[in-house]
């Protein structure tokens, strides 16, 4: 029996350039790179030297605290560069591919016979535990505290988000295997959208399935947790993105680490937006090779979707958790006169002082990255609440974070949230506060205080 949750609060936003359900082959790249910045909350220690040979699946760096979590190379080849920034902060480790893609071979795991701790040990060694995040704090999970539950969301409602039902096509068995393996460690909750009910993603009898209907952020795993089994102080929940579950399933079945996912290449700046099967760490330039629309406008490349992704450059690499790469106008070259009073029919707003409400819900917008207003103190009330479908007062929580009131943050449920849960609120905010940054910094500070 699947539980159905109807989410009312939220906002669906349609942008131009959604990826069509087609897969384009991209030739293997010469260099791949892994960046520790993608893995929140860990301090890396590099375990390779420049020029050293690695196979796909060999660790490039490990976490300094426990040295148990391995971050492994997506390809075989030689370590090309260990790039450090200010104060010797590790930026990324790049590997020159040898083109053979030789893969470290472990023995496949028989799930029925394996125990939870066997699975955990294998995932740590294989470098796939690096894709397990935990709440509280929304950081890479600690292998030393087992969670009360594991949550996976099989869909995303973010604008331009990759459709997982399509991204997993042909790999459904790996996905199910992955879920079964996770279920050995803790109860697994899978959140799906109503369209996914009768698809090959299911059934998996070891996991509890919940259906979430409603607008963005109904696909956020944080919303699922809050509805199904909210986190209390002192409890830990692990979350995985569904692409990582596929990698885990593949590893369990074959004993090989293949960090490949099908990502969407989308946005109004891309000609013929569609999908591509690529390894984690693929250069963005190769992904977008010959795909950028001809334009004289400034464009922004985003690792991830326009609401939670981060700005990237053409010489960057596909992030470990990015499920899409989007290209949209930057907007710093647009001159707009008297924007505060003009009708601005090309712009989207939830507010009826603009006319988006007249243009129908299916209209697609080509939004740029301008903030379109100055940062202010919080003036309007109830703005965040309208797009925040959790039993939490977002406005008061954000205020508690800004003022650094840790007791209040705990009371208001900071352990249950991740920055991505505030993405839609950040979009609609008329005071233009950087909510995701504020929440991220709040979580980091709290983690330090509680350590």
């Amino acid at each position: 029996m699947k539980a159905l949750y109807k989410i009312k609060k939220g906002l669906d936003l349609h942008l131009e350039g959604e990826a069509a359900h087609k897969v384009r082959t991209i030739k293997p790249s010469a260099v791949y790179a892994l960046s520790p910045d993608d893995f929140n909350g860990i301090v890396p220690r590099v375990v390779v030297k420049e020029g050293q040979h690695v196979d796909a699946g060999d660790p490039l760096f490990v976490d300094k605290a426990t040295e148990k979590i391995h971050f492994v190379s997506p390809v075989s080849g030689t370590v090309a560069a260990i790039v450090r920034g200010d104060r010797r902060k590790l930026l990324h480790v790049s590997v020159q591919s040898d083109g053979k893609q030789t893969c470290r071979q472990d023995s496949p795991i028989a799930i029925d016979k394996a125990s939870g701790s066997d699975i955990l040990a294998s995932l740590l060694k294989a470098g796939l535990f690096a894709f397990v995040r935990q709440r509280p704090y929304d950081v890479i999970a600690s292998p030393e505290v087992m969670p009360k539950a594991i949550f996976v969301s099989a869909f995303s409602k973010m604008p331009l988000a990759a459709d997982f039902s399509f991204a997993v096509e042909g790999h459904e068995d790996d996905f199910k295997t992955g879920l079964r393996a996770l279920a050995k460690m803790a109860p697994v909750h899978l959140g799906i959208s109503p369209e996914q009910i009768n698809t090959p993603l299911l059934p998996v009898k070891e996991v509890q399935v919940s259906v979430f209907a409603g607008p963005n952020p109904a696909g956020n795993v944080g919303v699922h947790i809050n509805h199904v089994d909210p986190i209390n102080k002192g409890e830990v929940v692990w979350t995985l993105d569904p692409g990582a579950v596929v990698m885990i399933g593949r590893y369990v079945a074959t004993g090989r680490v293949i960090m490949e996912r099908r990502i969407a290449v989308a946005g109004s700046g891309v000609t013929e937006p569609d999908y591509a099967d690529v390894l984690v760490g693929t250069p963005i330039a190769d992904l977008l090779d010959g795909r950028l629309a001809e334009t004289d406008r400034h464009m922004r490349i985003i690792n991830g979707n326009p609401l939670v992704g981060y700005k990237s450059e053409k010489d960057g690499f596909l992030g470990a958790f990015s499920r899409e790469v989007c290209v949209i106008p930057e907007g710093d070259d647009v001159d707009e006169v008297l924007g505060w009073i003009m009708p601005r029919t090309n712009d989207f707003s939830t507010n009826h002082s603009y006319f988006s409400w007249l243009q129908g819900r299916s209209r697609r917008y080509n939004l740029d990255c301008r903030i379109k207003g100055g940062e202010r103190h919080m003036i309007m009330s109830g703005e965040y609440e309208r797009v925040f479908p959790m039993d939490i007062f977002p406005e008061h929580l954000v205020k508690a974070i800004i003022t650094g009131d840790i007791d209040k943050q705990e009371e208001l449920g900071i352990y249950e949230v991740a920055p991505e849960d505030f993405a839609v609120a950040e979009f609609v905010d008329s005071s233009k506060l950087e909510l995701q940054r504020i929440v991220r910094e709040g979580l980091d500070l709290l983690r330090k205080e509680n350590a």
Binding site: G234, M380, S381, E434
Partner: protein
Amino acid sequence: MIKKFFDKIRPSFEENGKLHAFHSVFEGMETFLLVPHTTSRCGASIHDAIDSKRIMSFVVIALLPALFFGMYNIGYWNAQYSHIDASALSMFFYGLAVTLPKIIVSYAVGLGIEFIVAQWKKEEIQEGYLVTGLLIPMIVPVGCPLWMLALAVAFSVIFAKEVYGGTGMNIFNPALVARAFLFFAYPTSMSGDAVWVAKDPILGLGGQVPDAVTKATPLGEAAAGHPMSFQFGDMVSGLMPGSIGETSVIAIAIGAAILLWTKIASWRTMASVFVGGAVVAFLFNVAGFESNQVANIPWYEHLALGGFCFGAVFMATDPVTSARTQSGKYVYGFLIGALAIIIRVLNPGYPEGMMLAILFMNMFAPLIDYCVVQRNINKRLRRAKTQK
């Protein structure tokens, strides 16, 4: 073209330019005319087109019907008592001539202080005063002298807003603080019978009203124990003496429609103010206060009189000073409506209770929110306990 102009004059406002002292004014004007180029650095790459400039502009637009009607109303009463034949248009222009100096003084003093503070704190100019600056002239009697207005504006912008940290941080509604300041500092100029009709001709418009003529507001009449000389129809249309912007229910209703449709004002607050006022006024109607004229004003007339509508639509819904939680807004609004009527009926000194009711509830809004938020906190604590 505008951009070229700004690019040309920009250097003189930068750090070492000779006009650096005015750089916040420059920035204010630039962002007013051109949408800033700033793009997001982190977090969400895309943003809703709404911003506080847009919001404040729409509140100002929503205020305009009431303001224009107020101007006409001023001319109408002047014509009535000076016994001249004036066309509707000339009545309006007379009102405009009376009101415009007030608006200019209010903006000049208020925005001047805002500019100085923004310059001093190296912040952007905040547009909150655009609304406050128009509200203040609309809630004072037409006879209020300009110097008094200037003093009240300065007092409220400095002590009700900037000392708290500017727009968004204030506890009390600055426009009402300005009015309260005038009310307690210069009571004779703010109430009584003499201040509600403009008496002198301006620029050839309007007539001379004899000094002996006085006209009380309907609530003033009732408070003094006289029967009211106005019909319900006058109250709705607004042809009665009162503060400049507050008399016409129809004009305020247009503003209310704009605010509610754009979701700038909360319908929860607005509706519950009216419910609160109606319930309490109805209770007074049936309670049988024989001697108290105000208690016997029918409840629907109570809602149409004085500053009730204006306060409910434009003042109580100020998001900064009202309750911020959705359920808190019901309580907040209801208590404003209820208190306003209670003050009117039971306090013979103040014929109008809306101002004090809203200021009083501004003070208690954080408490209401505290209770609502605390329920959520307790729920979370209980959940944690039952798990263990």
